[in-house]
């Protein structure tokens, strides 16, 4: 009897989800330092960033599992449990992509041709921006829950998501331009390296894609 009132409250997924997106963003943001070192061929410095990325990705993964365990089917929540789990999944994928791309670049000690180095770094930055905007949007989750997914708070989140969409479109444009630039210089480069450069560009671009999917999931929550 002592705890019967307390036990009807399941553990709220809201703050853990916000914490998770924070970890995912932090993981992604380490790519900035990683690529700054990689384009200059400073692999010792890059390896520090690489291990930080791996560490943060693990942390995010552990938190993801913990959140899942705390969300049994018997919970009654203002929004469908499935949507929250899906949101968690795409948040986690941002971190995964950061790990993947840093893995390819670091593992192959990939040489980024100086002709496209600046453009590449800018492209990475823009993807980090997308992840940051996704974090900013998800951090409104507690306010959304407080306001019952209604009114002014919803409009606020909608405007954040609109901005996220714009950033994602921008990364798409930059991705196309970067590929074109690489195409122009590719015949002078080692073909295998070029193949993996394309792969690295693709994986980096997926960070913004995942950020956009975080936005889509949030939008779905708003429409319930």
């Amino acid at each position: 009897m002592g705890n019967m009132l307390a036990n009807i409250f399941g553990s709220s997924p809201v703050m853990p989800l916000e914490k998770h997106v924070g970890l995912a963003y932090k993981c992604v943001s380490e790519l900035r330092g990683f690529f700054a070192a990689a384009v200059t061929g400073n692999w010792e410095e890059a390896s520090k960033f690489r291990s930080r990325i791996i560490e943060l990705e693990h942390e995010a993964d552990d938190l993801k599992k913990k959140i899942r365990l705390r969300l049994p089917k018997s919970l009654f929540m203002p929004v469908p449990r499935e949507d929250l789990l899906e949101l968690l999944l795409v948040q986690d994928k941002m971190a995964n992509r950061a790990k993947d791309v840093s893995g390819i670049v670091f593992g192959r000690k990939m040489i980024i041709p100086p002709e496209i180095a600046d453009e590449f770094v800018d492209f990475v930055d823009r993807n980090i921006d997308a992840a940051k905007q996704a974090r900013k949007s998800v951090r409104e989750l507690d306010e959304l829950f407080t306001s019952g997914f209604r009114g002014a708070e919803v409009s606020l989140v909608e405007s954040l998501l609109e901005e996220l969409d714009q950033i994602e479109t921008d990364t798409d444009d930059r991705q196309a331009a970067l590929r074109a630039s690489l195409f122009k210089v590719e015949k002078n480069l080692d073909p295998v390296n070029v193949m993996f450069l394309y792969k690295a560009i693709e994986l980096t671009g997926e960070i913004a894609d995942m950020a956009e999917r975080v936005g889509r999931r949030l939008e779905l929550l708003l429409s319930h």
């Binding site: 009897m1 705890n3 009807i8 709220s12 997924p13 829950f145």
Partner: protein, 416 residues
């Protein structure tokens, strides 16, 4: 009548035991909502509970006490043997108290009201005869156990929806909160005061006309709302925390309101659940002193004091622990949500007290919390636990009844 003192002495001890159990568990649950939302500290909660439980019991607890005391057992059948009623009421008190102790030791969710009603029905039906139970009255009580959580849930839903519409979903929730929270304070104070005046005061021998009652309730409520308004105006936003949580200051405004609803909740609880301990006690005292069943005697004030004191002792010994554990676990119940649940539950309980219905305060509060949840106000509610709570009272009634029957036959053999 030598036995008189034995009967009254035993009843007083059992009554304190029962009241202690209520204070340690039920009251703690009722106050934990306010502590969990940080509207009150634990110490403040205990002071509030002690004062308002007592006021509730004295001012508005008369009707429920009289239901427990003489509404369940048909006293006409006992005119020839008044001692049976004494044994039965003693047995019921001991049974309900014992069952509460066993249940709370094991962490089972049970209700004090369900145990005592089950116990009284049990001893009457088996110890005296099936006809000794006023079944129509018992039926009404059982109905009220179903209706009260539903009513509280419905009211809580409406209140919380209004909070969302008027305050939380607005562009400037803080300004809206400062404007509307005093209105909620008014309604909280008004409902409780009005029901007390209309239904309760006659039990302490005061009669006030209907118009005067409304006027008095309005006056008191306006006064309380004004005090609340001053407190609210003094709240200044903290931009640093605001940036992280836009509703931080808004919740602080609601915390003022929650102090008022916490008082209401303690008052409501006192008006309904204290009767579980002092109703049987009062019955024993009345029969033992007069020697006849159904004597029209007023409730002695020392009986009320025993009930109030037992609850305060229970609260300050074991209740403190319960409040802090429950309070820590229900942080989801922020002031804006918690007040809606408390106000809805308190209103429902006070109305039930006014009509003499012994209901479970905890179940009513659970119903209210679910109502807030249905308005999309709670992050996560565990439906398994909710199911367990509502099933638990089905078990509690036969358990209370069984123990009461055993004790009844023991007393019948042992006591003079």
């Amino acid at each position: 009548m030598e036995a008189e003192f034995i009967y009254i002495g035993l009843a007083a001890v059992f009554g304190i035991f029962m009241a202690w159990g209520i204070g340690a568990n039920d009251v703690a649950n009722a106050m934990a909502t306010s502590v969990g939302s940080k509207a009150l500290t634990i110490k403040q909660a205990i002071v509030v509970a002690a004062v308002f439980e007592f006021l509730g019991a004295v001012l508005a607890g008369g009707a429920v006490t009289s239901t427990i005391r003489k509404g369940i057992v048909d006293s006409d059948l006992l005119v020839g043997s008044p001692e049976l009623l004494i044994y039965g009421m003693l047995a019921s008190l001991l049974a309900a108290g014992t069952w509460l102790l066993i249940a709370s030791r094991n962490g089972w969710p049970v209700s004090t009201t369900h145990s005592i009603v089950g116990a009284i029905v049990g001893f009457a039906a088996v110890g005296i005869g099936i006809d000794a139970v006023q079944w129509s009255q018992v039926g009404t009580i059982v109905m009220s156990w179903v209706v009260s959580p539903l009513t509280a849930g419905f009211i809580a839903y409406l209140i919380y929806r209004s909070v969302q519409k008027l305050i939380l979903s607005q562009d400037d929730p803080l300004a809206q909160a400062k404007r509307y929270v005093p209105v909620y304070i008014f309604f909280a104070a008004f409902t409780i005061t009005l029901v007390t005046i209309l239904k309760g005061l006659s039990h302490v021998g005061m009669e006030i006309s209907l118009a005067a009652s409304y006027l008095l309730a309005t006056g008191i409520a306006v006064l309380i709302a004004l005090v609340g308004m001053v407190a609210i105006q003094r709240i200044q936003p903290d931009p640093k925390i605001e940036k992280k949580q836009h509703f931080y200051t808004v919740e602080r405004v609601f915390a003022v309101l929650m102090v008022v609803t916490a008082c209401s909740m303690a008052f409501a609880h006192g008006s309904n659940d204290v009767a579980n301990a002092i109703g049987p006690l009062a019955a024993v005292v009345s029969v033992a002193q007069s020697g006849i069943v159904g004597a029209k005697s007023a409730l002695p004030i020392w009986v009320l004091i025993i009930g109030g004191a037992g609850i305060v002792i229970g609260l300050s010994t074991f209740g403190v622990h319960v409040i802090s554990t429950v309070g820590k676990k229900i942080t989801q119940l922020t002031p804006s949500r918690g007040f809606a649940a408390e106000l809805a539950a308190a209103t429902t309980i006070v109305i039930a007290s006014g009509t003499g219905m012994p209901i479970s305060t905890t179940h009513t509060l659970v119903g209210a919390v679910l109502g807030v949840g249905l308005a999309r106000g709670i992050d996560a509610i565990d439906l398994r636990v909710v199911g367990r709570i509502f099933v638990s009272w089905v078990v509690t009634i036969p358990a209370g009844a069984f123990l009461a029957i055993v004790f009844f036959f023991i007393f019948k053999t042992v006591l003079p």
